[in-house]
């Protein structure tokens, strides 16, 4: 099944009954799939909105009304959605936002890239907030993480982003959909009219600075709980490794191919793959520095996750880097060659400036 459709199908199976979006390549199969699939399920609602901005706010409204809701886009469109993502974080409204990254900045191109890591993991919009960011690397993981994303969004009442790229969206792989659990989201969070009871307010405007500060700390406490409970990563062939590659998403797939070639050439490389990009698995990576001295970060960008890796390692290990921004998808052979040029068993990896 094609990656974009996997996300659509996983969303519907997870109980997503509301989708709004605006076409942009390379994720058009998501709105197309949802427009058809949501017709087939009871209560399914699909809206092709007039803009990315409208889409995220339509989703915010649907979320406030109690529907499991999703929107999707690609890099330039995600920039437009940031106003709404910030607002939903402030108002604690759950939703799933898919970003099939493409080359940037600006309109860039429609090729796979990883240049939106900063935007995704630093919040993206204005104000003190975080977004849970999941970085799948296979179609199977796109299915699983999309389903998990809805549960995480509900559990923590916060927008969750699936951060993949054009390659992930377009590729086809076999997938097994897991059985979703029942939705746990109390009706008291939903705005459905006051009935005979007290009226409810959903807002992010808090004019008193002390009250606003408290709201910020409330959100921050929640983010700390998320960081403690929800961090995920994968280790690949690290048991006997002398060098650890760090990569996520499509880059991690390429890294696995490179590791095979490096091992054939006698370099015992392994992979540390963050699955949650925020919260970043920093403690897990820091622990690696107790055993390993050499790391190489590989990204389809000029070096964004690189900063998180350095923050996590805190200077306890050598960090090299290889990046291919702008929609270039390098081959495992290229990466293996780069590693062989940068890494020497005696001198360690050449540290990135």
């Amino acid at each position: 099944m094609q990656g974009n459709k996997v996300i659509g199908e996983a969303a519907v199976r997870a109980g997503c009954r509301f989708y709004a979006g605006y076409p942009i390549t390379p994720q058009n199969e998501i709105p197309e799939y949802m427009s058809e699939r949501l017709r087939e399920v009871e209560g399914g609602i699909f809206i092709q909105s007039e803009s990315e901005i409208a889409a995220i706010h339509v989703v915010a409204g649907a979320s406030a009304a109690g529907a499991r809701s999703m929107t999707s886009s690609s890099s330039p469109g995600i920039s437009l959605k940031q106003e709404g993502i910030s607002s939903m974080a402030a108002c604690q409204l759950p939703a799933v936002i898919v970003n099939m990254m493409r080359g940037g900045p600006g309109l860039g191109n429609i090729s796979p890239a990883q240049g939106d890591y900063f935007q995704a993991t630093r919040g993206g919009g204005h104000g003190d907030y975080r977004t849970i960011v999941l970085g799948p690397a296979t179609a199977q993981e796109m299915a699983d993480l999309t389903m998990d994303a809805f549960d995480l969004a509900d559990r923590y009442r916060t927008p969750v982003m699936i951060l993949a790229d054009g390659m992930m969206g377009q590729m086809m792989e076999p997938v097994v959909f897991k059985e979703p659990g029942a939705r746990i989201y109390p009706e008291s969070y939903m705005m459905r009219g006051a009935g005979k009871g007290k009226s409810m307010i959903i807002r992010g405007l808090i004019l008193d600075p002390l009250d606003m500060e408290e709201h910020n700390w409330t959100l921050e406490r929640k983010y700390r709980v998320i960081a403690k409970n929800e961090t995920r990563h994968e280790l690949y062939r690290t048991e006997d490794a002398e060098l650890i590659l760090v990569a996520y998403g499509t880059a991690a797939r390429i890294a696995k191919g490179a590791i095979k070639r490096l091992r054939e050439a006698g370099i015992r490389a392994g992979l540390f793959r963050p699955i949650t990009l925020w919260p970043f698995p920093e403690n897990e990576l820091r622990d690696m520095a107790k055993t390993f001295e050499n790391f190489l970060v590989f990204e389809m960008s000029t070096g964004q996750m690189l900063e998180d890796v350095r923050l996590a390692l805190q200077g306890h290990a050598r960090v090299g880097f290889h990046g291919r921004p702008g929609g270039v998808v390098p081959t495992p052979v290229e990466l293996a060659n780069v590693v062989m040029r940068q890494y020497d068993r005696k001198q360690g990896i050449i540290e990135h400036y």
């Binding site: 609602i45 901005i53 109690g66 607002s87 009219g193 006051a194 009226s199």
Partner: protein
């Protein structure tokens, strides 16, 4: 003793923060009275704008959600589609609807979303201190058009009601004012009709209210009321722009 006047049940016991002579408090009260009369307090949801009315949830005792600037009709679209049996209304100012949120409002209208927009047109940006609005009149002085609105530089006032009336998705659109007891009563009838149309599933309705802003117009409340009659209504003529319930429209389509 018989009680002849009281606070609507859909209003909280709070004092308005609005300036003296402002039309917002009147519009708020009219909406609350209509909600009471139609007995829809329990199913009403208000979507609030950025601007002076952002704090309206302090006054209304119905469910209220804040939208980012101009995004109210998008948010209302999401809510109403999920909850078609609730009464969803947007409260928007001229910046919120006619400038930053024109796309969201226009397309919600064009889709014929079964929602109601109460559009407060006071020809100026109130909360930010009196800057030019898309509805500011030609030669009207504001803090960002100090020499008066100049069409070659600033464009022309936008007539939202007329423009939206052209969209097949809209059902009922009327422009009113709230500068006299008679006009206030008339406006209330219009709001009531708009809500009733929504309840009957007739589609998109909008009530534009010419509303005084004495603080930013730099006039007394009395002068402001007069200015609406003598100047504003010349650019923004009052009246029903469209009253074509969907049921009638459908019938009309059938006849050749």
């Amino acid at each position: 003793m018989k009680k002849v006047f009281e606070r609507p049940k859909s209003m909280k016991n709070a004092i308005f923060h609005y300036c003296a002579g402002c039309g917002h408090s009147i519009a708020h009260r009219l909406i609350a009275e209509v909600i009471d009369e139609l007995d829809i307090r329990g199913i009403a949801i208000g979507v609030l704008p950025a601007g002076c009315a952002v704090l309206a949830y302090n006054y209304f005792d119905v469910d209220m959600i804040e939208a980012q600037h101009g995004r109210g009709p998008a948010m209302a679209t999401g809510m109403k589609r999920v909850l078609p049996d609730r009464v969803v209304f947007c409260y928007q100012g001229d910046g919120d609807l006619a400038a930053i949120g024109i796309a969201e409002s226009f397309h919600a209208a064009n889709r014929g979303e079964n929602i109601t927009i109460i559009f407060i047109n006071n020809a100026v940006y109130g909360m930010t201190g009196g800057q030019m609005a898309p509805t500011s009149l030609l030669s009207q002085k504001t803090t960002t058009s100090p020499a008066g609105r100049e069409p070659l530089l600033d464009g022309h006032p936008i007539r939202i009601s007329e423009i939206f009336s052209q969209l097949p998705g809209t059902t009922y659109i009327e422009r009113c004012k709230v500068n006299s007891p008679a006009s206030i009563l008339k406006t209330k009838k219009s709001i009531r009709k708009a809500f009733q149309y929504q309840i009957d599933g007739q589609g998109f309705s909008l009530v534009e209210i010419l509303s005084p802003c004495p603080t930013n117009w730099k006039m007394t409340p009395v002068e402001s009321c007069r200015w609406i009659d003598e100047v504003m209504t010349k650019e923004f003529p009052l009246g029903v722009m469209k009253d074509l319930p969907e049921v009638k429209r459908r019938k009309g389509e059938q006849t050749p």
